[in-house]
Symmetry: C2
């Protein structure tokens, strides 16, 4: 007969020492996000085992990882073996893998037989298709894929103003145009970013990336544009949440863009402090929106 | 008391000599379309009176017009006066006015007080907003705006293959991805063109124009892409129907794109003969689709 004591759920205070140190397999693409995430995981006392990709992943990442292996992109079997050897089951897939590599990945992409099989089974290479297919392949090998938004919740943009300056009336009007445009794009499985000025969509992101889109908008429409970035409506939050960082702000400064609107709770911020400092220094407005926040919800 | 003879409608045979020679005021932007249209109108015995824009409109257009006046873009009052002086009531608005001029039109755009008023009344500069606003302004001055699709029906792309080569299976699959993407874009009031390869949208047109979009897709995704161009679902057919010509095919050849799908009955073809010849020479596939044509409807 069990005592009442054993039946009631343990309180938070009683269990911390029983939580095993989690071991996370970080599959890291390009950009600053994997590094930011690795630091966060280590800070939480988790053990990070890294799979990086030659020519793509920041080599500095190795310092945060207890174990690391760099592979050529597309070596699925080698990746599964490496992760097994490192003793990880839970995976976090992070960082950019530019889709243009699919079309011109000479020297970086080297698909093995399994990768070619997975690719050949794809009816199309839509943005999420490939990631989903690779995730499913990994799951078939016994791995589980963590949710980016959950693991990195502290990096998600909040609702409201992040910068000292809130959006002006005209920036807000441009944001509303951009928000509906980026939602339409996302629904069609295309990009996550548009740039708007005077209500006109100057540039739309497909596979060129956000920074290139911002630069093009600057060339076409001059200064004073508003950049809007959002997750796809049916986004799989395990991977490919939109991410921004200091480089986004720097691209905006170069292009003369004046405001950035990012979807709250769905956009990962890399080096938020540096980002906000850079934005404030250039008097840019950065703020987090939700798909249904309206003028009343605008911070002022 | 009227005789029965006078009551019945006149037969077609009886009236041709009574149809007045129509006088069309051609408001011409950039590109080859206004010239093609002017030749067509003259061939039909219509009288063309031209308003062109310095630095934008092809000067050769003057040879087709009985009267011509070149103005600076944005001189609405001067345009209305010129059209009145030329004795025209029916207007055909044709040719590109790059939207980037709105943002950086130094030396070409010189808005008068009326243009500034019309601009200031626009809540946003969406693709159709401005054209609609200008059309409305002209209507307020007693002019009527002709339907491009009606006046230039013979230039509209037909359904089916225009080139010797029909689309391959994979080009057809890419076209289907592109068609749904371009519809989503059009519904959101953005561009009219996307470029697709392996089911992935490589590039999306906003204000940079179709040729720039095709070039970018080539740089990002390499050869073998499919270009899809369509009218916006709620397009005002009086102006801004998508147009393609030899330059579109040349841009595709430079970028290595292999197939072009254009919306039948909604896309104007400039120099169809030259376009098809150029496409056939490079073994490109060009064909006209409808929004609901399916695989069964595919020409083979």
């Amino acid at each position: 007969m069990k005592s009442q004591k054993h039946d009631r759920p343990p309180s938070a205070k009683e269990v911390p020492h029983k939580i095993p140190k989690r071991t996370i397999g970080l599959i890291a693409g390009a950009g600053g996000l994997p590094k930011e995430a690795a630091a966060l995981l280590v800070e939480r006392g988790q053990s990070v085992r890294l799979v990086g990709f030659s020519g793509l992943t920041d080599c500095d990442l190795q310092t945060a990882a207890e174990q690391a292996q760099f592979l050529r992109l597309g070596q699925l079997e080698a990746m599964a073996s490496a992760l097994n050897d490192m003793g990880v089951r839970e995976l976090l897939m992070l960082g950019k893998v530019p889709k243009s590599l699919l079309f011109d990945g000479q020297g970086i992409v080297d698909p093995d037989a399994e990768a070619l099989r997975v690719l050949s089974e794809q009816p199309e290479f839509g943005d999420e298709n490939l990631m989903t297919a690779i995730a499913r392949w990994l799951e078939g090998r016994g791995f589980s894929i963590c949710d980016q938004g959950e693991e990195l919740a502290s990096l998600l943009a909040p609702f409201g103003a992040l910068s000292a300056r809130t959006p002006s009336e005209s920036e807000y009007a441009d944001f509303l145009v951009g928000r509906s445009a980026v939602r339409a794009l996302g629904s069609a499985g295309i990009g996550q970013c548009v740039v708007v000025k005077h209500g006109s969509v100057l540039a739309v992101e497909a596979i060129e990336g956000t920074d290139a889109t911002i630069h093009r908008a600057g060339q076409l429409g001059g200064p004073g544009s508003t950049v809007v970035k959002a997750a796809r409506p049916a986004q799989d939050r395990r991977f490919d949440l939109p991410a921004i960082g200091v480089s986004t702000i720097e691209a905006m400064i170069e292009a003369g863009a004046s405001a950035l609107a990012i979807e709250a709770d769905s956009t990962l911020m890399i080096d938020q402090e540096g980002m906000v400092r850079t934005a404030n220094h250039a008097n840019l407005s950065v703020w987090g929106f939700t798909q249904d926040s309206d003028r009343e919800g605008r911070p002022s």
